[in-house]
């Protein structure tokens, strides 16, 4: 099914408005006045009557048997109302579902602790200060066990076992072969093979996770307010954890101070729910502090060891691509981190027409924090590996990095194009993005400058990377890790009130991407009203239409589809009523430029508001069978997606945005510091519904990409102790590290989506780390060195430079 079958416009020209004023323009965000004045209610701003505050006691050991937990002294502390331990969790809840299955625990450790920071007990008290005092009075007796904090050691026979009952630490092992990979490598004139290491890093939104849970024993209901991404999803999971019917679980998402994939907070929500139950139904608030976030939150992703290779013919055409990935997911599979090993199937071969590919995937458990989703969800490290190999191959064949890419791009006339791993790309012109970036940077001049400075002993490097951003998330690509499913709903309800103003009701809270504004832009242009006449409000899980919310570069496209679908349905209702009023039939009536009237007879028309007012005020005048409520709901799902076959091949993410990033860096070989000197971006995400939003997403992705490339790393020692538990040692990029970029927009509209837009929330994160590492390695060419580990911290780079010096001596 295409969007045409649903009546949802695939281009701006199809809107019933000859002069759209909002779609495609950088409209000021409706979200901003409340944020700028401090009035937006983030979860920590919420105060409920008789609310208690939770503090959580966490394991100091990476692996230890819990012999006993004595909470009696804590319970005696004035102000403490309830204390819970693993025993309460066992009595009142189930372990959470995991992907892959069978690697989960209760929200509080029961038999043993499996990572530093795992919750062991929790307190609800009249203030957070008192609750933290009480933690010091809880006596836990641990018997430390040997820990394993290295993925390769976790595979050894005799390794400590994270879950003894599972027999080994292998959470999942699968081999996928798409096409004749052996033939491609056997027939190649060049094979480039390397090992790569991507170290753990994570989302780190400025607001940590927070929740207020309230258990009502009389009604048997659970209400959770929090900074939830995908509130309905988490409500379903809580229904299973607490054996509650789903209609007795109500989730209310508050605006979040950023998420980037990690705002689910299952354990914190479950712990506060248990505390509320024990405290007789008083609401219990937990606001994760930063150390808790870094040690025990959704703060870590992508702990990866790669062994990868490309096979090429003499002309530099890539014939085959092999990836062996050892992915360290940490102690459990509760955090949905495994799906990030599956998402590369959506864009396995990047921008290139590579006919054969292989993915040899092993996911292991270790005594580290469970991995969580992070912006991009897996392709960022995968792209980094592929793009490094492309650069290495170019060097081996004495080709320019731009030229080898040109020779391998999927050509613009080949779309829609199905890649070896099964996903379909909607549209694109990759060479155009590359040539645009080269022209912006004056590439020949850059290379000349590089050569000139090289002669002076300065090491400049140019990184040039093209990537796909799979957009509009669905579950299909995740079948390989045990997550089935087709389609993810996003609903919107659009209504007109008696005064003629419009309201959009949605099921997701503000997160920062500006989707309320996009929804309002689209609706304002549909009915040709001022955007100030549109209000967007968020509803809870029991009131909202089916929804998923932000995630996977999805919501901008999905909410546009939902709003347009609802507007279409509402218009059909108005048309039916107007047809009665004009004494004609609906097929002769249309909405055009905000008026509803008889086609071709401008004088026989009225403002759409008047039709709605008639419905609300004089339903007795309506034609029979007409629903008198001027409101309609539409639930949008990406069209044409397919479930995965036995090799994981699926038509999965709906859109394939693409970008070319070109970066100039200088490596100081004395201090091992990397300076980003210039940065250019040519980006194609189809129709830009609000270009300012898109630019913001791009630049924000660059910043996170700079962090990934140069700074951010969750460091564990070999005993599983976390060494980066504050922002003093887990380094986030500041304005001093993030370059101001020059951006240019290209547009190949998606033929499959509402208004031709493509997902754009994660794009730069897919590209920036690869581009910076390509640039660093380009700078290191004269020294004969290659850095194949991220982040390229000064320490790591300095070590490499010293090794290089020693080797040259």
């Amino acid at each position: 099914m295409s969007e045409r079958d649903t009546g949802i416009p695939t281009s701006v020209a199809e809107l019933p408005n000859s002069e759209p004023r909002y779609v495609g323009r950088p409209i000021d965000r409706l979200e901003d006045p409340a944020l700028l004045t401090g009035r937006t209610q983030f979860i920590d701003d919420l105060v409920l009557p008789r609310m208690l505050h939770c503090a959580i006691l966490r394991s100091p050991h990476a692996h230890a048997t819990i012999v006993s937990v004595d909470t009696s002294e804590a319970e005696k502390l004035p102000g403490v109302v309830a204390v819970v331990t693993g025993e309460d969790a066992k009595r009142w809840s189930n372990p959470v579902m995991t992907v892959p299955p069978g690697w989960g625990t209760h929200c509080l450790a029961t038999d043993k602790a499996r990572f530093v920071g795992e919750p062991v007990a929790a307190v609800a008290a009249v203030s957070r200060y008192v609750a933290e005092d009480a933690l010091e009075l809880i006596a836990v007796e641990y018997e430390p066990l040997p820990a394993v904090a290295d993925a390769r050691k976790a595979l050894d026979v005799g390794s400590p076992l994270v879950f003894e009952q599972n027999g080994d630490n292998v959470m999942l092992r699968k081999l996928f072969t798409w096409g004749d990979v052996d033939g491609a490598f056997a027939g190649a004139t060049h094979v480039v093979q390397r090992e790569f290491r991507w170290n753990r890093l994570g989302a780190n939104p400025l607001e940590t996770f927070g929740v207020v849970s309230q258990w009502d024993e009389l009604e048997g209901t659970l209400t959770c307010r929090g900074s939830f991404q995908a509130q309905h999803h988490f409500a379903m999971a809580r229904a299973m954890v607490f054996n509650l019917p789903l209609n007795k679980v109500r989730f209310i998402a508050h605006p979040h101070g950023g998420s980037f994939g990690g705002k689910g907070g299952a354990r914190g929500t479950d712990i506060t729910a248990l505390l509320s139950r024990k405290a007789g139904g008083r609401p219990v608030k937990w606001i994760e502090d930063r150390m808790e976030y870094l040690a025990g939150g959704a703060s870590q992703a992508w702990d990866r060891h790669y062994d990868a290779a490309v096979a090429l013919d003499a002309q530099g055409k890539v014939l085959g691509f092999r990836v062996r990935l050892l992915d360290d997911l940490g102690a459990t599979a509760e955090g949905w981190g495994a799906v990030s090993a599956a998402k590369p199937l959506t864009s396995f071969t990047g921008c290139y027409a590579i006919p054969a590919a292989q993915y040899d995937l092993t996911i292991v458990a270790t005594n580290k924090l469970p991995g969580s989703p992070y912006r991009g969800m897996g392709p960022p490290p995968h792209n980094w590996v592929l793009e490094q190999l492309m650069d290495l191959a170019a060097r081996e064949l004495a080709l320019d990095p731009a030229e080898i890419r040109r020779r391998n791009f999927i050509p613009p006339d080949a779309f829609p194009y199905t890649i070896a791993s099964g996903n379909e790309y909607d549209s694109g012109d990759y060479a155009a993005a590359l040539e645009t970036a080269l022209a912006m940077a004056d590439y020949p001049a850059l290379r000349a400058e590089q050569a000139r400075l090289r002669a002076e002993g300065r090491y400049l490097g140019i990184g040039l990377v093209n990537t796909i951003e799979p957009g509009v998330f669905d579950w299909n690509a995740y079948a390989i890790v045990g997550q089935p499913g087709t389609g993810v709903p996003e609903g919107a309800t659009v209504g007109i009130d008696l005064f003629g103003k419009l309201t959009i009701k949605v099921g997701f809270a503000l997160e920062g991407q500006g989707q309320y504004t996009v929804a309002a832009q689209v609706l304002a242009d549909w009915f040709k009203v001022d955007i100030a006449d549109v209000r967007v409000i968020a509803l809870d899980t029991l009131a909202a239409p089916p929804h998923f919310g932000p995630g996977g570069s999805r919501l901008g496209v999905a909410i546009t589809g939902a709003v347009l679908g609802a507007a279409r349905r509402l218009t059909d209702k108005l048309v039916a009523v107007a047809a009665g009023l004009f004494r004609t039939t609906p097929e002769h009536v249309e909405l055009r430029d905000g008026r509803i009237g008889v086609k071709g007879m401008p004088e026989a028309s009225m403002p759409f508001q008047e039709v709605a007012q008639t419905m609300l005020a004089r339903s007795d005048l309506l034609p029979p069978g007409v629903d008198p409520n001027p409101e309609a709901t539409y639930v949008w799902t990406a069209p044409g997606r397919t479930p995965a076959d036995d090799q994981g091949r699926a038509k999965s993410y709906l859109t394939a945005a693409n970008a070319c990033h070109l970066v100039l860096v200088e490596v100081d070989v004395e201090t091992a510091q990397v300076h980003i000197r210039k940065y250019w971006i040519a980006d194609d995400c189809g129709t830009r519904l609000n270009p300012a939003n898109v630019e913001g997403q791009t630049q924000g992705g660059v910043a996170q990409g700079v962090g990934a490339a140069l700074l951010e790393e969750a460091v564990y020692d070999e005993d599983g102790q976390l060494r980066t538990s504050t922002f003093m040692d887990y380094l986030l990029p500041t304005i001093y590290e993030v370059p101001m970029t020059e951006k240019r927009a290209l547009c190949t509209p998606s033929p499959f989506t509402p208004l031709g837009a493509k997902g754009c929330g994660e794009g730069a994160m897919h590209t920036t780390p690869a581009a910076i590492l390509c640039a660093i390695n380009d700078a290191l060419v004269p020294l004969g060195l290659e850095l194949r580990e991220v982040p390229a911290s000064p320490q790591r780079l300095w070590t490499l430079l010293q090794q290089g010096k020693a080797a040259r001596r």
Binding site: D32, G258, T734
Partner: protein, 151 residues
Amino acid sequence: MTVNGERHEADVEPRTTLVDFLRGTLGLTGTHVGCEHGVCGACTVLWNGKAVRSCIMLAVQADGAELKTVEGLADGPTLHPIQRAFLEKHGLQCGFCTPGFMISVYELLSRTSTPTDEEITDTLGGHICRCTGYQSIVEAVHVAVEKMRTK
């Protein structure tokens, strides 16, 4: 203490942080807590005209002080030129760090109406924004400078 022109008196435990006092006792929740160890800048408020981190100060240290928080920037429904500039230049996404940024920019523009690029960078350099990548914030500061000059 005086906060945004309004006098407040309260007894506090000596260990109460300034940000907890502002948020919890006074209900001024516009000032946000990001890291609780003075790195991120989300909790920045003006303390006797100086931008400080209220997560690593104690409430008792503000005894008798003149404070300004994000709630004190706008004049009723009229946004302050700095707020207006952040809005126009999309200088925020999730907006959680934004009050802290704006307070530091306010301090800078109280000191000088013609800040150099280096002064702007150094002012923003004490804050972490995880969403915007800073570019639009820098542009917002330039616009704010212009707006303040022509105010």
